[in-house]
Amino acid sequence: MTPPNILEVRDLSVQFRQGRGTPPLRAVDGVGFTVREGETVGLVGESGSGKSTIGRAILGLNPVHSGEIRFAGQDITRAAPRTRRGLSDRLQVVFQDPYSSLNPARTIGQTLAEPLLVHEKLGKAEVLNRVTAMLERVGMPADTAGRYPGQFSGGQRQRIAIARALMLSPKLVICDEPVSALDLSIQAQVMNLLAELQSELSLSYLFIAHDLPVVRHLSHRILVLYRGQVLEAGDAGEVYDRPAHPYTQALLAAAPEPDPAAQRTRRLARADAAGAGTGTAAAPSATGCVFAHRCPIAVDVCREKRPPLLTLGAGPDGAPSSERSVACHLVVEPPVPSPASAGPKHLPRPKNP
């Protein structure tokens, strides 16, 4: 049985004014997806793809132009601060920059106690107990609560930020590039912590990152965004191992490969797909596919008509593909895995709920 949806985003658009005379910038343009309970959905794309804007719109930090956001069945598209306050025990966030995400003038204990004081009437001792227990759970030393953010490293601060998000046992945590600012070794630790917490607390994550391998590691499903639109969506492993959309392929080819031989093959493949992954002078077409000006296989129709996001048919082995959607005129069925790109080495991934 499929678990119920905790988050439903329908046809979401976010626009930013760019001053007089210029049309508004469509940061997010008709994006729709769902997050089920206990599931991690990854949003990937380069900067400017609108991935963070989607997260911020869900949190009420960006005004929504059109579309609908439902959280646990409740419409929160334009929720007032009072409603947000009511939601904050179930919907939480972890931001990218660990150095700006904690108030430097307050102790860690004060910061972590804040959500408890808003939502639950607890005695001082009980609050301290909860704070200490949570800090311990995210792997911070016992004396953390009395200290200030300035005394901790980036990775430690990110653990503290995660602890703050989890103080009220939320259902969904928006993770906006939570490991991008960290060293590689620390990234792995923090990602493992997120994965552990998910299985313990049956959390859902909306995991936003520009790094496809990172998203692949944690996510069950992935949405690939470009210029505010979803170009490809589907099961994380399938999208990663058999990218269908030319943009996803370019994005994967851009990630460095630790194995030198594989990296060489990849570099050749990238040279073949000249143009993909590098911006050309041509401006994106207003009516056609948003990726057409950078696409290595674009034909005339791509520049004239915008391809809808369509669900592909069965996979090559006959088994039904788990809802792979691609927005491309030229891709109509999931690609067969090629030997060169088969089985990229990656870390184990949490099981599908």
Partner: protein, 315 residues
């Protein structure tokens, strides 16, 4: 306890500072052309009279000897006497210090309150108010204080007769008149300080509001007011406090002009006349007092920092 230790340490470390500053001033004044003995005896005095005065003032001694003589006096609590009036320097400055302190303290408070309010308002509202504050800042910084002082006198004292043109009434004599005598000087001194403080406050509030911990609170539906008062201002205050300290010290320098224009019997007016006359004991006394004020202001800034910033407290 830690605070007391900080205060004592800072006051002790200011002793060598006072020594260096006073020695430096002594050398500097001796380099300026001019001869107090000649000024005192006048042009028609005989050479013998002139030599006599020079000897009496100790001007024939070598520079180090003169400095040592002055320093020994200071260490015994004697700042010497004016070369011209013979009035003891300590007594002279003690009556003048309150005037200057009234000016710079009220100037700092007034420009602090107005500057911080303008800065916070423009950071919160944006738009037209931001541009207004920008223009005011530019004007405030560009307008010379002495010119503004003259314009204010012409308008409010001479034409409208709301306020006294010049002069000073001690607080103890009549608090109302004291305040009235300070209005124009404080306003003319504070305009540029308001501009600096408003700009710093706005930048610093905007910087704090751009931080992710504020995003977290907004996402959690905290009220804007409580975010501003409980979280933003506390963090934004640090650079503003630094600027307040700098402003206070610069007001001390500005006081020289303003006191002269408004005929206020403060340290500033005394400094300029003493410098023209080569009245070394008075100049040295003023330097000691001013350095003392600067040391105290910096100490206050550091104490405020310690209150506001846990990182400083830990260090």
């Amino acid at each position: 306890m830690a605070i007391l230790r900080l205060v004592v340490r800072r006051l002790l470390s200011s002793i060598p500072l006072l020594f260096v500053v006073s020695a430096f001033t002594f050398v500097l004044v001796s380099l300026v052309p001019g001869d107090p003995a000649r000024t005192i005896v006048g042009q028609h005095a005989t050479e013998a009279q002139y030599d006599d005065v020079r000897a009496r003032l100790g001007l024939d001694d070598s520079l180090p000897a003169q400095y040592w003589h002055w320093l020994r006096g200071v260490l015994h609590g004697d700042l010497g006497a004016s070369l011209f009036t013979g009035e003891p320097v300590a007594q002279m400055l003690n009556t003048r210090l309150p005037v200057s302190l009234s000016l710079i303290v009220t100037g700092t408070i007034v420009s602090g309150i107005i500057g911080v309010s303008l800065g916070v308002l423009s950071a919160r509202r944006g738009g037209a108010l931001v541009r207004t504050v920008d223009v005011l800042s530019l004007v405030g910084l560009a307008v010379p204080a002495f010119w503004l002082a003259l314009v204010l006198i012409a308008l409010f004292a001479v034409k409208l007769r709301w306020l006294p043109v010049t002069g000073y009434v001690p607080f103890a004599d009549d608090p109302t008149e004291w305040a009235r005598s300070l209005v124009l000087p404080v306003v003319s001194m504070s305009v540029s300080s308001v501009a600096i403080i408003a700009k710093q406050t706005r930048d610093s509030v905007l910087d704090t509001m751009s931080r992710d911990f504020i995003r977290v609170m907004e996402a959690n539906g905290f009220r804007q007011r409580s975010i501003l008062y409980r979280h933003v201002l506390r963090n934004a205050a640090l650079p503003v406090v630094t600027v307040l300290g700098v402003v206070m010290v610069s007001l001390l320098a500005g006081a020289v002009f303003v006191e002269t224009i408004f005929a206020l019997p403060g340290l500033g007016g005394e400094t300029s006349s003493a410098t023209v006359q080569h009245d070394i004991p008075v100049i040295q006394g003023v330097v000691l007092y001013v350095t003392g004020v600067v040391v105290v202001v910096n100490l206050l800034v550091d104490l405020a920092y310690g209150r506001l910033d846990p990182r400083v407290r830990a260090a």
